[in-house]
Assembly symmetry: C2
Homo-oligomer: 403 residues x 2
């Protein structure tokens, strides 16, 4: 069986995702569609709107055959680490293709870019460092350094978020010489609108904003998501009593920072260059998550970077936790969140070829990466009422979802 | 000016406290009544129902002339540490007398007990250890060991909570050869009822239970507290939106334990003998504070001991924090919470005789004990809405209360 991999967050799953699955499946001619998905907290440093189990169910009902969890260790990181974890997970599960959405939409742009990058990597690194030393944020410094080696001309704008991610995927594949064929589809709303699948295509960000503002699923949202997502979102809110937003974590996060010493804060992943002083100082007047980030933000510390740091504080993830597992060249396990019949057939057929163990429950193997996952999961559910909290956490030790 | 010291928690201040102040003032013939009071968290490991500033105001309006804070370091500890901090603070502020309530009510019983104890201390220690080794809780083991050296006969029952505390006060005075005259009044409801001061005398525990059950000040409570306490309780709830109960801290405490490693938990003050495993294990099913303690409780780990440990977890107080300051033979500062005109005259008159600095704001001196205090205060206010939280915390850096 031929498998095609997608790297996703599904926060939440919408018609654009449905279109992507169908297009990627057709292009790759795959029998099995495998998604590696961020779990509790996402790449931009945000809690997922509903938990990974409900998002898995929505994905399995809309064309995905296997859902794997991208470990927290890779998920809440900048694009290079994120790509490394996602691509290597898909490689270990045996995909022959990876398809991603991008602003460019042209795979040869990515491959050419990688070749230019490789040839001029030293110049890039030197310029990047010099921009960073001037106090410029990483995304901007990186953009300038790419421009400097001629990488942002024409169709290939490496300041666009999905181009950056795509470039990191292609880089991981080529650098590690993986037997995976990358391809991309253009990711623009107008492009999506041409398709016949959905009545309406909206971005996940737009859908989340609409959900949070109205605290319910409006007819506009309903039009831009499959019925299965609609039901999962609705059922989650009904049982859990809430969707997950950063603001709902503010009391826990604030409490945590206020009872940490400066020394303890400086040990948290991402807290560098004396940022602990700034976080402590601003905590005294903070009354909301948004206001707090606004007060800390500088040229160098972007919103996304600060959000990731706050996720690490909330989940109590230290530099030491991260270093303990960062040295591993390959990923230590594949976490299976769910599958359907096609997925099961694929897993059976490829069992003997797998080099890393398949983990189905968080408690299955003592592993520092799974311990990080457990803390993240515990922090994620901490905003729920006591009974729901304990009940939802138990999903982590139950068998994977089968539909 | 002659000063008499009282060791108090005022949680909340009631007619029994009022009676105690008046009786102690008369007996000692003091010009100035000084209370050393637990701050945010109390000796039995509970949050104070309203904050120390509002309790200070209530005390100053009912006969106390100076309120000092018993540092967290001493307050949330067993009777010996508690007594050490309280008596030494009163000694440094220059009191000539200390009066305490006890079940015994006879000071010569305490002094005789101390003499017997001193003569047989080695036997006591040996027996105590042997009972503890059998897995018996400290309070019970201590009671048995006292019985063994003949200390619980007749009027002197050293298993009664206020006798235990009183014994510790007298022990601190005599062991350190302090120029303080201890005296005691009998602490029983019937005794109190004979007095003309209050219409009704109830215990602080009874008043708290009534307050929490009804979520308001019932006519029964109103009868057992001075009008000033009534107003402070009412105003606190109005501004802060809540009184402080352990249950309201459950979400924060639970979140904290669930995101700590076993190793981190074992570093917290009071977590010994592998208790971290038991706390972690029971956290999975815990849905309330009371239910959680019930699930952890053993013969050796009493309710009070576990409550103190939970306070240390909530405030992030480590063994290391405690050890850093435990070695100091004398107290490093006196924290002044509030005073009236009489108190001010006393403080002026005794200024030159003081050997330790008077601290009025938490930020005044960098001191590890004040840092513990700040974390405790931050944890204490963490259950309030954001604006009230930040506003109430600022009381810590404002000048002391003057009435």
């Amino acid at each position: 069986m031929k498998a095609c991999g997608l790297i996703v967050e599904y926060n939440p799953f919408h018609n654009g995702h449905l279109y992507h699955i169908q297009k990627a499946k057709k292009n790759s001619n795959a029998d099995c569609m495998i998604a590696v998905m961020s779990g509790t907290f996402l790449q931009r440093g945000e809690p997922a709107i509903i938990d990974k189990f409900h998002r898995t169910r929505a994905a399995l009902q809309s064309g995905i055959d296997i859902v794997l969890e991208l470990p927290y260790h890779y998920a809440v990181q900048s694009s290079d680490m994120f790509a490394k974890g996602a691509v290597k997970t898909l490689h270990e599960i045996g995909v022959s293709d990876i398809n991603f959405g991008s602003e460019s939409g042209n795979i040869s742009n990515f491959i050419t870019s990688y070749e230019i990058f490789k040839a001029k990597e030293t110049i890039y690194e030197k310029n990047l460092k010099s921009y960073l030393d001037k106090g410029i944020s990483f995304p901007k410094a990186s953009k300038f350094a790419y421009e400097h080696i001629g990488l942002t001309s024409g169709d290939m704008d490496l300041s666009k978020p999905n181009n950056i991610l795509g470039f990191s995927y292609v880089k991981t594949i080529l650098e590690n010489d993986l037997a995976i064929k990358p391809s991309t589809i253009k990711r623009t709303n107008s492009d999506y609108h041409d398709q016949t699948i959905g009545n309406s295509i909206a971005s996940a960000t737009g859908i989340r904003n609409e959900l949070f503002t109205n605290a319910q699923i409006t007819p506009e949202i309903a039009k831009s998501i499959p019925k299965e997502t609609y039901l999962e979102l609705q059922q989650y809110k009904h049982t859990a009593t809430t969707w997950h937003t950063w603001e709902s974590y503010f009391p826990l996060l604030h409490y945590r920072v206020l009872t940490m010493s400066l020394q303890e804060l400086s040990l948290i992943e991402g807290v560098d260059e004396g940022l602990e002083y700034r976080i402590k100082q601003t905590s005294k007047e903070a009354t909301s998550f948004t206001g707090w980030i606004d007060a800390i933000k500088t040229k160098r510390y972007t919103w996304t970077r600060l959000q990731r740091i706050f996720v690490h504080i909330l989940t109590n993830t230290s530099k030491n936790d991260v270093n303990q597992v960062s040295n591993e060249a390959s990923i230590p396990y594949i976490r299976l969140l769910g599958f359907n019949q096609t997925g099961q057939a694929y897993l059976n057929q490829t069992r003997k070829k797998r080099n890393v163990p398949l983990v189905t429950k968080i408690s299955q193997k003592p592993n520092p990466m799974l311990e990080m996952e457990e803390k993240a999961s515990n922090a994620y559910y901490s905003i729920l009422p006591p009974k729901q909290k304990n009940q939802f956490k138990k999903q982590e030790i139950q068998p994977p979802i089968r539909i």
